[in-house]
């Protein structure tokens, strides 16, 4: 099984709010530092990445945000236009069909089309050439959350099933071949140590079916440091502290208790995630809500075990 860095496309997914974007950006930065030309794609119109590098978003156009690292935001509407124009070849015809008041919502509602065209954009990027060589060594995708991410992976097959023939069928087949190939495509699952995201990660891993071969890494995000040096001594020490008459001791112990609960959850999370059998990495909780470039750079080292 190839390491993450040998693949052409890496899709990052996980429950909402667990740090998919953080992991996607850090993986992209790590590869860029090693000299790979990396394209990081946000999906569903999200434009969080350029701001992390202090740059304005150019939307669907690649924006270079660091050495060897560019990013773009895939919106379904723009992806449909690019995808369909490749099939129809005529802008006028495209406009007639897709910008038609009557047809627009109808075509827009073709099942799975949004997911398919977003993967289609990734597929274009993967094969894009510049001066006779591949433009991108690696395409990292900040994919939709778990359930939707799985639907997206299945979108090419769903389109093949729906159309059963024709150019959409043929093209969906090519995309399916890319996203189902564990040599070229890898999947990274991200979770925090909370029960809900953990369970969602385990359940996704179960439901991946044939896509399970793609899983190239599991990342446990927001790992807290131990708040006290010695867990064995702590119960006795806590008892002493709880007898203090200083009113500040109550909120102090509440904070420490919360941190200890977080640490206990991590122990359980590690066991469960390692049981999934993929390369495993952990990122520390940095005790701030506003991660910037410096923090993301610091994550490239702990993610090294995936590459």
């Amino acid at each position: 099984m190839p390491g993450l860095s040998d693949r052409r496309v890496v899709l990052v997914t996980g429950k909402g709010g667990v740090g998919k974007t953080t992991v996607a950006v850090s993986l992209a930065l790590a590869a860029a530092r090693r000299g790979k030309r990396v394209l990081l794609c946000e999906t569903q119109g999200a434009t969080r990445v350029p701001a992390l590098f202090g740059r304005p978003s150019k939307g669907y156009e690649p924006t270079q945000v660091a050495t060897n690292l560019s990013t773009l935001s895939i919106t379904p509407a723009e992806a449909i236009q690019e995808y369909v124009l490749l099939q129809l070849h005529f802008v006028r015809l495209y406009k007639m069909v897709f910008q038609n008041r009557v047809m627009g919502p109808f075509v827009d509602a073709v099942p799975g089309l949004h997911d398919l065209v977003q993967l289609g954009k990734v597929w274009f990027a993967e094969r894009e050439t510049e001066n006779g060589r591949q433009r991108w060594d690696l395409v990292v995708v900040d994919a939709p959350a778990t359930g939707h991410g799985l639907t997206m992976l299945g979108a090419p097959r769903a389109m093949m099933e729906l159309t059963r023939a024709g150019p959409f069928y043929e093209n969906a087949k090519q995309i399916a071949e890319l996203v189902e190939d564990p040599v070229r495509t890898g999947l990274v699952l991200v979770t925090t140590p909370e029960e809900m995201p953990l369970r969602e990660t385990e359940s996704l891993h179960q439901r991946l079916g044939a896509f399970r071969r793609l899983v190239a890494g599991v990342v446990l995000n927001e790992v807290h440091p131990l708040p006290v040096p010695d867990l064995e001594r702590w119960p006795e020490e806590r008892l002493r502290l709880s007898r203090s008459e200083d009113p500040a001791m109550i909120p102090t112990l509440r904070v420490i208790d919360a941190e200890l609960r977080a640490c206990a959850r991590q122990v359980d999370a590690r066991v469960r995630l390692r049981a999934l059998g993929a390369a495993y990495a952990e990122l520390p909780f940095l005790f701030r809500r506003d991660l910037g470039r410096a923090e993301l750079e610091s994550f490239t080292a702990p993610l090294g075990s995936l590459t």
């Binding site: 009557v102 369970r199 502290l241 500040a248």
Partner: protein
Amino acid sequence: MTQVVIMCGSGGVGKTTMSAALALRFAEEGRRVMVITIDPARRLADALGLAELGNTPQRVPTSRGELQAMMLDAKRTFDELITRHAPNGDVRDRILANHYYRFVSERLPGVHEYMAMERLLAIVRADDVDVVVLDTPPTRHALDFLTAPDRMAGLMDEGVMRWLVLPASASGWRMIEMGSDVLAGVLKRLLGQNTIEDIADFFAGFQSLWGGFRERSVAARALLRAANTRFILVTAPAPGARAEALAFLEVLRRDAMPFAGFLVNRCAWPPAPAPAWPAAAGGDDPASWEATTRAIEATLTRHRALVATQEAAIADLLAHAPRGANAWRIPEATGEVHDLSGLRGLGMALADSGALDVLRGPA
């Protein structure tokens, strides 16, 4: 008249648990409450009696008031609507068996939101509960709940129907010439002949139901602007939440839908000043006691920094919200909420946050 509370927010912010806690709290204040949840965690579903019977409201045991809970199954709701409103068994069976319908009812983005609106409308029209709390599907953007019904309604637009389907002739159910040969040719080229036939067949069958769907979708959208409706944005105390909140508020404002406030979930506990440390006792190793107090002070310092970035994010959210908007802070839970007593604890936190006063008050 039934009060409607709609809990929006992107996936992972704790909407489902918060919706259940709010509903239980309202019920135990003595009201008749219905909560429509989306895919709660297994044990929470068990606690709410939803493990087996998803799409049908279940009575939840409460100390006071009445609580019914249901888990929305969009596909089943859609099937039931088709079954109830189809003019005859032939139309019903043809729609339910149609290839395109099966895709639409299971996978079409927006169908879940649309069916949630149908359920909401039915409950409000039945008028036998005091409050409905609606949990919305987990999406990347809170906004999706607001825009999805319009997309579905757009699909059922009269123009589309006319274009796709010639009025049903006396022989009924024959398909269906495409309005324009050029367009039909393009679509066939893109999607294949089979798909076009499936789609046209679906719309031909759906034609007789279209009026009812249209009427209800208009009524449901009016319900979202009603005086008794409140939107809450459940969010995280992080800067990433701002862009989403702004887009969400913009649509609420544009469509005159009533915003109640931000429910900021999983906030860090308020910071603690460093306490005075008791001296090491006789039996202690003074060095390890000192190591412990140092480590705790370091944790408190990190925690203060965390609260500072959290409060900056909340202040930023409020600075971009309408004047007088509320941010209700819910502290991170002490454990996973998976039973009624856990929900009651969260209900207390909701009361402490001030959210309930606003939701109970006049619009």
